[in-house]
Amino acid sequence: MFAAVGNVSLLYLSPWIWYEGYAMKWPLLIPIALYCFGSFTRPLFAAALLGQLAYLGWRGSELGRLPLIGPHDTLTFFSASIGVMALPLVYGRLLRDETAFRWSTGMMAGLFALLALPFPAMNMPLPPILRTYWFEGHVVLAFFAYALFGVGAILGALFLFGRGRILLDLQYRVILVGYTFFSLSMISGGIWGYYAWGTYWLWTPKELWTSILWLFYSLWLHLRLKGAEWDRAISWGALAGFAITLFTYLGVSMLMKSSHSF
């Protein structure tokens, strides 16, 4: 796994590297445990998120920038984004008693934080081309969108498991906001690209899959106009959309040659 994935080499099987890596990342283990084993209660869910935000804040203060480079930082940021986006719903009126939602989003956030652990934390200074607010805005908005698509998928799954239709209404609003964030991410990426590389668009696998993801959710939002008989299809669509999201984020970076990875 380590030899094949991205730019992680067999070097990282070295025990010393593992020890040093985990020594730096131990604060992340606590929120992971809270997410995975404590999300059934809202205070523990919130505590997990706070722990993650504290870890990201600490990394950010060490680096002097937002920790947004490489698989470790982006997976951790993605995990925290899921927690941030789910928190209003966890404490909201509609899902207050919905334990399954808390568990599911907590487990999702915990899983991605766990996935971040094997990867080295990249501590190098930002290359000049990345030192712009357009880059940071582009990445932050993308992960907020990914997180909302993940939350939307969970709501769809709960509907398929027999929960009320109110979940679909909530799902629509969640995914619509995610779509807004994602569109803004694409726009800020285009503006950054124009100032950095002379064009607002490049034909790379990442851009192609970004377009695929945007088009898919455009289709999903229009599919709702077909009426209530399409509710199950819409729920499955949200799950498929999140699968496309994960391929766009992780699959393209790890499996395809693209200058635009992580």
């Binding site: 200074p125 000049p128 081309i129 030192r131 712009t132 357009w134 679909l168 209404d169 629509y172 609003r173 619509l176 906001v177 779509y179 807004t180 569109s183 803004l184 726009i187 285009g190 503006i191 950054w192 124009y194 100032y195 950095a196 590389w197 002379g198 064009t199 607002y200 668009w201 490049l202 034909w203 790379t204 696998p205 192609l208 899959w209 377009s211 695929i212 088009l215 898919f216 455009s218 289709l219 939002l221 229009h222 599919l223 709702r224 106009l225 077909k226 009426g227 209530a228 399409w230 509710d231 819409i234 393209v252 395809m256 040659k257």
Partner: protein
């Protein structure tokens, strides 16, 4: 009668859904079949220049995508017209207009890509201090100075180029800070100082950029209005129209 049916079909939701799905699928296929070499070529020239020179096996998906996209653009226009006609008096003005403003933004972005795909330009060049970039009309840009900051570890942390144009304009080019002159942007990609000081510049003309930005602004305005108006709806059902 036939015209009416054709009009209804071309502006229908079902056709729009199939077209979006088709473009999505074709782009997915294209991401796997194109190959890194062809992608590098595609990024070095206007889109239509590549489409007319690339092997069929590498570019058929993009030809089909463009065809479907053209139909989708038509579908969007007709759907917008019908949507505005049918919703008249049935819902708030903002909620009625917001999706159509988004559609307009989308169409402008498609137009932007079309403009860039025929009128775009890119050239890469290596320059040294006192090099001159000549333009077809005899004008030019002189590279006065190349600078680079080097970290103690030996890698370059920042770089810039000071330039002067033939009409007396001065500027400094840095990463994310290009120099715009005579309709082109001059971008500094790299500076090396050992053993010889040189820089890598790219000259870009992106005629669709302004249209893309306008489309993006419109799309965002419509999107934000839609989100805020939807939040105020107490009941949002699958029958609610966007």
């Amino acid at each position: 009668m036939i015209l009416r049916k054709t009009y209804d079909l071309l502006g229908s939701l079902n056709l729009g859904l199939w077209l979006i799905g088709g473009v999505t699928l074709l782009l997915g296929i294209g991401s796997f079949v194109t190959g890194t070499e062809e992608i590098a070529r595609l990024n070095s020239m206007p889109l239509f220049a590549w489409l007319t020179t690339a092997p069929g096996a590498r570019c058929w998906w993009l030809w089909l995508s463009l065809l479907l996209l053209a139909l989708l653009a038509l579908n969007t226009v007709l759907c917008t017209i019908e949507s505005l006609r049918q919703k008249k008096g049935r819902s708030g003005l903002l909620l009625r207009l917001a999706p159509q403003v988004m559609h307009a933004g989308f169409l402008l972005i498609v137009l932007a890509h079309l403009i860039s795909s025929v009128g775009g330009f890119k050239q890469v060049m290596q320059v040294g201090e006192w090099s001159r970039i000549g333009f077809p009309d005899g004008a030019g840009v002189r590279i006065e100075r190349l600078d680079a900051e080097v970290a103690v570890q030996g890698y370059i942390t920042d770089f810039s180029a000071s330039v002067t144009t033939s009409d007396g304009r001065r500027g400094v080019i840095r990463p994310n800070e290009p120099f715009f002159w005579q309709g082109v942007g001059i971008y500094l990609k790299q500076v090396e100082i050992y053993p010889v000081k040189f820089g890598i510049l790219e000259i870009h003309r992106e005629p669709g950029a302004g249209w893309a930005f306008s489309g993006a602004v419109l799309f965002t305005l419509g999107n934000i209005v839609l989100v805020t108006r939807r939040r105020q709806d107490k009941t949002v059902s699958g029958n609610n129209e966007q």
